[in-house]
Amino acid sequence: MGKRIIFHIDINHCYAQIEEMKHPQLRDVPMAVGGHEEKRHGIILAKNDLAKRGGVKTGESLREARSACPDLLIIPPAYDDYIYYTEQVKNIYREYSDTVESFGLDEAWVDYTDSQHLFGDPVVTARNIQERVLREIGLTVSVGVSWNKVFAKLGSDMKKPSGLTVITEENYRDIVWPLPVGDLLYVGPATQRKLHERALYTIGDLANYPEYYLRKNMGAAGTMIHAFANGLDPSPVALNSFRAPVKSVGNAMTMIHDTESAEEVRPVYFMLCESVASRLKDEGAEGNVVTVTMRSSDLNWYMHQKKLDAYTDVSSEILHSAMELVEKNYDFSMPLRAVGVTVSGLRGCRGGRQLSIFADEQAHDRSRLMDTAMDDIRSKYGFYTVRRACTAVDPALTGFNAKGDHTIHPIGYFQGRKMIL
């Protein structure tokens, strides 16, 4: 295999920059994009440079951000716009290569290897892409150019905004190795702590450490980060059309007010289960493991799961198991703040189904028909035209569309692929 050329392109503080592009006057004030405070999804998602200088950090609560920077302007996120504009930016990348792999909304890898003889020098092309995105969409992007995905990503993080860093096999020891080990992809706080215990502080330390000891202590993950540190990451940039198979489907949300009994939280779970069931049907999948997550008002997490006797994609059956888990495992001594439900153990629907002697199969069919009918009505006339009676008890609590409002999925690096070493 010849030497590859891979770009990693990152839209600098994406959400905040898109807001600035839409409203240029926001460039002159400290501004951050954050969740709706009244709905209590209150964290900072992105900030502009002035807010950063004021000490605002991504991921902190709106209250913490305000105390650090009192005149901070907080804007609720407009996801539809972010999806639209980031897609426009990626369409520019796609003019240069058919292999563009998204990593979240704002980042993408572009495999430029085979496009080289069409467009010429990679560095010139990278500059061209930067200029075009700025001129046509009004956003600045940072680019890292390297021969593997991991170093390309490191490169795009080095200079912001509008940075361009080239990491080659000749210079990576000088550029990458002095960086702190926590900058490397897949080295999170826990791994970083383990590495620090071994006095491995920079990526260079990690690269020159014998792989044997890493594998012994950290297993396959040790081998992987050791390879990353040495630039040995052969993983390909996925084709445009690549889509990872789904492993689980879940929805979670912070409620508009705390709930104090299983009875009160049930309608919220019903809404979440409806969304999960509907998404399962869209995927043509059914699962047999139900997991519930709960967060109490003192911010502790609880998680319980259960294996079902039969595979299902029916909302009332998922709800039944979810509520069973909640009632059995949580006593509501602390009110609940956030809840979630996930179905995993998925397999494709094969049209047929193993009937059970003990379960009521007719009830299953009826509930499934009802789900499909509700989905059809909703897709034709809108989400709120039909709803379960139990959700009318507290309309504020259940006034959300878990399927439609939930559009941003976190993405793993391997997207279901195996690492080949």
């Binding site: 592009m21 839409k22 240029p24 639209y84 504009y85 426009q88 001129r135 046509e136 969409i137 009004g138």
Partner: protein
């Protein structure tokens, strides 16, 4: 000179081949301005905010930039 972003009503001609051609810009006071000529058409970000397909138009002898942003139109106006 500071430019202001103003959304406007536009009378369009859609050609058989799918091409969109703006014909008139309708101001809020009810006046309608004929677009005499479209000088060029490019994807651009506007200094007044927003981005999209920019149509540089000749309207009664003046050059004006008209943008198709997602699914609506705005003009870079000299007045707020």
């Amino acid at each position: 000179m500071e430019l202001f972003k103003r959304y406007v009503d536009v009378v369009l001609l859609q050609r058989k081949n799918g091409e969109l051609i703006p014909m008139y810009v309708c101001w809020d006071n009810g006046r309608r301005y004929k677009i005499d000529k479209i000088l060029n058409r490019q994807r651009r970000a506007s200094p007044a905010g927003g981005c999209g397909m920019r149509y540089t138009c000749l309207i009664s002898g003046n050059r004006r930039n008209l943008y198709l942003e997602k699914d609506r139109w705005f003009i870079e106006s000299m007045r707020p």
